[in-house]
Symmetry: C2
Subunit: 124 residues, 2 copies
Amino acid sequence: MATITINGNKQEATCKQELAAMRDSIELLGGKWKLMIMRYLDNRPVATNTFKKIQRENDGISAKMLVKELRDLEINLLISRSVMDTSPVTVAYAITDYGRNVLPVAETLAQWGLDHREKIKEYQ
Amino acid sequence: MATITINGNKQEATCKQELAAMRDSIELLGGKWKLMIMRYLDNRPVATNTFKKIQRENDGISAKMLVKELRDLEINLLISRSVMDTSPVTVAYAITDYGRNVLPVAETLAQWGLDHREKIKEYQ
């Protein structure tokens, strides 16, 4: 069972809490772009990760969508945004250590989905 | 990176394949009832898991929804359905070994969601 900390005490999460938590995870990790952006940032030096470059190298994402996704990731502490003192000002994005810890969870999910697809194919 | 087997060869999954796989996982594990049903079955002896009993002990699920969920789980090889030669006929459900292997994946997801909720609360 999953555990939850309340007032410093670890206890079993209720079924309802687990479902709410699972929905949180899914909302964050299940979207089309968020994980792709995090992986992209994970593999590249911070200073070069400008908005324009991220957009150019992630084909198909609109500027409006990229703004939204970066903002969601930042609010959730998964990436950080730094404004650099250049002229004109440069804004660059980096994955946080916390964000880096999420990648294996997403990986597990993706791997299970791939394995499951193969399993189901065998039986059809 | 997640891997995929094509004609017996393991290779890296493309980003598109991973996303499709992740959507598969989410569709299966993210719903309101499926995981709850699988956990329920995991903890109980097979012969007693009749439709009526599952419905009674999982408050709030409608018969129509339970039919659908059990059928989805069966198609995906996560649970099995056996018809017992009683009079009247009894139908019982059991989690499969394959289904049992999915539980830790769902657990990981739920735990991350719970931890993340606490992390975000700290920063607000």
